[in-house]
């Protein structure tokens, strides 16, 4: 799965999070920071992670989520790692 394809999927998840301004979802890159760029309340990150698990049909370890960074690339990396682990 290409990284851009994963980013597109993450954006689809973010569209369902009502505390994120949809206007800010037009130019999402790997470097976009959930907290500083999207003003995502930190409590929403766990909801995003759970929805991403569902979207990409993967299961994260609790440690993965505990250590998760706040940039889009951190979630992309985590998805790839989780998929590799499942194979």
């Amino acid at each position: 799965m290409e990284r851009q394809e994963i980013i597109d999927g993450i954006v689809e998840v973010l569209k369902t999070v009502r505390t994120i301004d949809p206007e800010k979802l037009h130019n999402i890159t790997e470097e976009t920071d959930f907290l500083t760029d999207l003003n995502t309340p930190s409590t929403e990150l766990i909801n995003i992670a759970a929805k991403v698990e569902q979207k990409f049909d993967v299961e994260f370890e609790d440690d993965d989520i505990d250590n998760l960074g706040s940039k889009v690339k951190d979630i992309v990396d985590l998805i790839i790692r989780a998929k590799e682990r499942a194979e």
Binding site: R18, T19, P41, T43, E44, I46, N47
Partner: protein
């Protein structure tokens, strides 16, 4: 600084089968019942004993639940179709907290507080709910315990949306006050208890303003708890179900709603030219002290009246009773009122006859009805109080009874099934809760 006067300068809330507080007022004084057959209850067929309630749907409050894609039937958040509450605040709220926020907004608008006044260190938020369970917790627990899902699948907001003082916390985050933020819990006295506590904060000089009240979000989870106790009204059409004082009453009708008021130190309110809807004369609360969780105490209520009158002139034109429509509570309460202030010169009003028992919101919504009675110079009716018992109650015949020795029917002149026009200068409000907690507040017209 310990005996300042306190004014009621704003009101708001959520009321069953009403579009807004104006509609609520109009329906109340025209003698309407706001109690309806509840489809959510009837859907469970024989699992549920009583099926009428003073419920409020999300649709009626212009709210729309957003269901989670992760956990079946879990309302992840709500959309406010009228854009009154920002999404960030909706994310941390259950329906009751949303009603509390809407009531706070309306109260502040009515009070005419500036942003600076609202956000001041001298502004408190004191709002609580009865909160005997709701769907946020039910779905979170069901997903974890029954379906074996990860805890995170119910989302990261089950704490803020379910914690005991969620209503106060959500209101404070919305209005950004910097003073006290707390919730008082005293079962069915919660609504009046929170306002009483806020009143004391201002009276004793600890705060200048407060948003205060009680909430009970529509919840079948709460309803079934009372249904199980067999204490809910059964066997009448919805509008006849709540019938305080009537000989044939057989239980209370569960109601839901919120009642929020804006309180302000009197001199400040007057100095800025605020409209003063009522002045609080006195507040008192106590416990029965008889070790009984449920049964009302005549002695506890006698002491309640004494405490209320300790530092204030108590000569009400209306006594707004708790009047739940349960077989025991109503008449003990009536007799304690008569024991305290005689049987002439006032009327008894039981607004639960119109909208049911709003539990944690009862005291605050009923205080709002008392303010409306002062405004309208009309006594709200005791709907369905068709027949008063011509015989003595069993407890009146028991050894040790030291209250009035006449049957309820002797007091027909105090209890009107219809709205009464009269001069009203003072209203006393009474509420009680499980655990033997009693609370009373007297309010007057500002003259």
């Amino acid at each position: 600084m310990h005996n300042r006067k306190v004014a009621i300068v704003g009101m708001g809330g959520a009321f069953p089968d009403c579009t807004d507080i104006g509609d609520f007022k109009e329906k109340l004084f025209s003698g309407k019942s706001l109690i309806r057959e509840w489809d959510k209850a009837t859907a469970f067929g024989k699992q549920i004993r009583s099926t009428v309630a003073g419920f409020i749907t999300e649709e009626e409050m212009n709210l729309e639940p957003v269901y989670s894609s992760l956990a079946p039937d879990y309302p992840e958040t709500y959309i406010d179709r009228l854009s009154r509450i920002p999404d960030i605040n909706l994310a941390t709220a259950d329906v009751g907290s949303i009603w509390a926020m809407l009531g706070a907004q309306d109260s502040i608008k009515m009070a005419g507080w500036t942003t600076e006044e609202t956000e001041s260190e001298e502004t408190a938020v004191v709002v609580g709910s009865g909160g005997a369970g709701h769907e946020i917790l039910r779905h979170a627990w069901h997903n974890f315990y029954e379906l074996g899902k990860k805890s995170r699948l119910a989302g990261s907001h089950t704490v803020d949306r379910a914690m005991v003082y969620r209503d106060a916390a959500n209101v404070a985050c919305l209005i950004k006050n910097k003073g006290v933020c707390e919730a008082i819990g005293s079962a069915c006295a919660t609504g009046l208890g929170n306002i009483g506590y806020a009143y004391r904060l201002i009276k004793f000089g600890l705060q200048d303003r407060a948003i205060a009240g009680g909430v009970e979000g529509t919840s079948l989870e709460t309803f079934i708890g009372f249904d199980a106790m067999q204490v809910l009204s059964k066997g009448f059409s919805p509008d006849k179900s709540s019938r305080p004082f009537d000989l044939n009453r057989n239980g209370f009708v569960c109601g839901f709603g919120s009642g929020i008021v804006a309180l302000e130190e009197y001199e400040m309110a007057q100095a800025r030219g605020a409209k003063i809807y009522a002045v609080i004369d006195s507040y008192f609360n106590n416990s029965d002290g008889d070790g009984n969780m449920f049964y009302p105490s005549f002695n506890g209520q006698q002491r309640l009246w004494k405490g209320l009158a300790k530092d204030a002139v108590i000569k009400p034109d209306v006594v707004k009773v708790h009047g739940t429509s349960t077989p025991v509570g109503d008449i003990i309460e009536l007799l304690s009122v008569i024991d305290a202030i005689g049987d002439k010169g006032y009327h008894v009003s039981a607004p639960k006859s119109q909208f049911g028992h709003m539990l944690g919101a009862a005291g605050s919504v009923e205080l709002i009805t008392a303010v409306m009675m002062l405004e309208n110079q009309q006594v709200l009716p005791c709907l369905n109080s068709d027949t008063l018992n011509p015989e003595l109650e069993n407890f009146q015949k028991a050894d040790g009874w030291n209250g009035p020795n006449k049957p309820a029917a002797s007091y027909r002149h105090l209890i009107s099934p219809e709205t009464v026009n009269k001069e009203i200068n003072q209203v006393v409000c009474l509420n009680y809760g499980f655990g033997g907690t009693n609370s009373a507040m007297a309010i007057s017209r500002d003259v």
